[in-house]
């Protein structure tokens, strides 16, 4: 561990210490009388207002991995990496109407997870299990990837050694995270998100104001990038890079943005953020305010070009030998190179703290899925709310230990592959969740069959995608050539979108068939009006305590049963 950057490390550690304290203090914040309930531990009391929700969902969706990987992609491939911008533009108008329906029905029926809703709407615990398992499998590698973000900054600060000693800082960071999440539940990431997002805004805005001046202006930055892309060999020997999209990439760019947007709000951790908010109104206002993060993301993406102009080479790279190195280190290296040590320390802390918030929310979301849709459904049907909460808390610990083991034990590339797969498979729950919010017409068996077909098709296509530049025969990326689907074109398309189209076709055709032969449909526990209720409506209780009553003594709620 030589060349450790002391000033950076001190600032980094101090800020990390600050959020650790916040994480523990959070259990007292907006205090509930009893954290031993999923509405409290897992959804922060279901009572977050507009500001907290904005920080929470923003902290949740714009992860540390996003912040290092998007500029890394721009650095390597150019325009294609900018897909993150249209992706996060279209997602909010798309979910503006959908998200409030999910909030209403979940509030009315006390649903905590997307699988809870699927069970209620389609009357099938098997389908709910499929949705829950898909959610858990898709979320796990996402948590592991957050560690990749932390690793990138640790590496840049010179903290890397062999074996366990080198990994110790990472293990400690995640242990701390695991303990305060266990203790405080969703309140911890909600409180830390304030610090995370403030730091991220400061750090990105500083870079955008300061760095272009040092590099000779935006002309010089884009010029340097163009020069690099022109110098690289054209495909198939080199990357399909450039300042604008090559023709075959255009379809890939837009389908990647569209498909990723479709997937974003069915990830369990996004649903957790939505359901933790107090009202439909809070969600609608957030759909208008959240794109503020997209501006930051867009500016951050351009740090990739600044890194090119500044002559940054990733750690472990050997341009002569054609070794690309760890692209995720370009942004940390750029800060290290451009700013005084103390400010670089703040930037690194921003990235690392940026990893903690989503990792905490994701582990809570995965744990809630396990507690509600596997433990309560299959292992202990009579579980009390306290038992449910305890199982969820323990699962959140296990999930994080699992993520650390994955990162330490396996090549980080493996978790990147898994996350790629995760996006494709989570999309296969779209018909059951999103279309389910609009209609109960789809048959439960058809939804299950569509899910299976979509998964199989998606995995098969991903497996069939090589990436010769990285010497990979399989799981080479999210874009699939149309020519392999028998279409005469050199365009590529987002794999997840093809898979979900196959899924939908099966769902529609089979539903029609099953309805015709009168196969037993699931019982729909929801009513159309359930999708429109708002906090403050008569009989719609706003506090979790009331929700609890409703669930336990549903019939007596109107009479106003005193809980104590």
């Amino acid at each position: 561990m030589d060349d450790v950057k002391t000033t950076e490390l001190i600032i980094f550690t101090a800020l990390f210490g600050l959020v650790t304290v916040l994480g523990f203090v959070a259990s007292r914040w907006r205090r509930a009388d009893n954290l031993e309930h999923l509405d409290e531990w897992g959804l922060g009391g279901r009572n977050f207002g507009a500001w907290i929700t904005w920080f929470l969902i923003g902290g949740d969706l714009y992860t540390a991995y996003t912040f290092v990987a998007v500029p890394a992609l721009i650095y390597g491939a150019g325009a294609l990496g900018f897909f993150a911008v249209p992706y996060t533009i279209v997602v909010y108008p798309m979910v503006f109407l959908v998200a409030v329906r999910l909030w209403s029905v979940s509030h009315r029926h006390g649903y905590v997870t997307p699988a809870d809703f699927v069970r209620g709407r389609h009357g099938s615990s098997t389908l709910a299990l499929a949705v829950a398992l898909t959610g858990i499998v898709a979320t796990m590698p996402y948590i592991a990837l957050q560690l990749v973000g932390i690793q990138a900054v640790l590496k840049t600060m010179g903290v890397h050694g062999d074996g366990l000693v080198g990994d110790l800082p990472l293990i400690i960071a995640f242990l701390i995270l695991a303990v305060y999440t266990y203790q405080s539940g969703l309140r911890a990431p909600a409180l830390i998100a304030f610090v995370k997002d403030t730091l991220i805004y400061v750090v990105v805005i500083a870079a955008i104001i300061y760095i272009p001046g040092k590099l000779g202006g935006w002309d010089a930055i884009f010029g340097a990038a163009e020069e690099k892309f022109n110098a690289s060999p054209p495909p198939p020997d080199g990357p399909a890079d450039g300042l604008v999209l090559a023709d075959p990439q255009v379809l890939g760019y837009s389908t990647l943005a569209f498909g990723s947007a479709l997937a974003l709000f069915i990830y369990p951790h996004s649903v957790t953020g939505l359901l933790a908010s107090r009202s439909r109104d809070v969600i609608k206002r957030n759909m208008a305010a959240l794109p503020a993060y997209s501006i930051v993301l867009g500016l951050l993406a351009l740090l990739g070009y600044m890194a090119i102009a500044a002559g940054v080479t990733p750690i472990g790279a050997d341009p002569e030998a054609g070794v690309p190195g760890d692209g995720n280190t370009v942004v940390p290296l750029l800060y290290d190179q451009m700013f005084p040590d103390w400010f670089a320390g703040i930037a690194f802390a921003a990235i690392a703290i940026g990893a903690l918030v989503p990792a905490a929310i994701m582990s809570i979301a995965a744990a809630n899925l396990f507690a509600r849709n596997i433990y309560k459904e299959y292992l202990n049907r009579d579980a009390s709310p306290e038992q449910e909460a305890r199982v969820s808390k323990l699962t959140s610990l296990l999930v994080k230990v699992g993520a650390v083991l994955v990162i330490l034990g396996l090549d980080p590339q493996f978790s990147i592959d898994l996350q790629l797969i995760g996006g494709v498979i989570i999309l296969q729950t779209l018909p059951a969740i999103v279309l389910g919010l609009y209609t109960g017409w789809f048959h439960r068996w058809a939804l299950l069959a569509g899910w299976a077909v979509g998964l199989t098709a998606g995995l098969a296509m991903l497996y069939d995608t090589p990436n010769p530049l990285r010497d990979k025969e399989h799981f080479g990326g999210p874009l699939y050539p149309l020519s392999k689907l028998g279409i005469d074109s050199d365009s590529v398309i987002y794999t997840g979108l093809i898979a979900v189209l196959a899924n939908l076709a099966v769902v529609v055709v089979l539903s029609a068939l099953l309805r015709t032969v009168k196969a037993p449909a699931g019982v729909d526990a929801t009513h159309e009006t359930d999708y429109h209720v708002e906090a403050g409506d008569p009989d719609v209780d706003t506090t979790p305590a009331d929700l609890r009553d409703r669930r336990e003594v549903a019939a007596d709620v109107r009479g106003g049963v005193d809980r104590r």
């Binding site: 500001w51 533009i89 255009v250 409506d537 009989d539």
Partner: protein, 88 residues
């Protein structure tokens, strides 16, 4: 964007008699919502903006167009939010 926690959405004036009635008031689809399609059309067809010129302050068109699409999309979402707010 005015984000403050206090404006709790309740329908104190004209108190609806039941949760069903309150919900029904919100069930009619407002044509304002169709505006939400605009950001999708403007960004999901790269043919519109996949070029370098005209540049703006050194930024190729591809980049500044998409960055400007963000506040435009926000404005549209706010318009829809305001216009459909009274439906409770």
């Amino acid at each position: 964007m005015a984000v403050h926690d206090e404006s709790h959405p309740s329908s104190r004036h004209r108190e609806p008699a039941s949760v069903e009635e309150a919900a029904r008031r919100r069930m009619n689809f407002s044509p304002w919502n169709l505006l939400l399609v605009l950001p999708l059309v403007g960004t999901l067809f790269p043919a519109i903006y996949n070029k370098q010129d005209p540049t703006l302050g050194g930024w190729p068109f591809f980049y500044w167009y998409q960055m400007i699409a963000i506040p435009v999309s926000v404005a549209i979402t706010i318009i829809v939010y305001r216009a459909t707010r009274g439906e409770r």
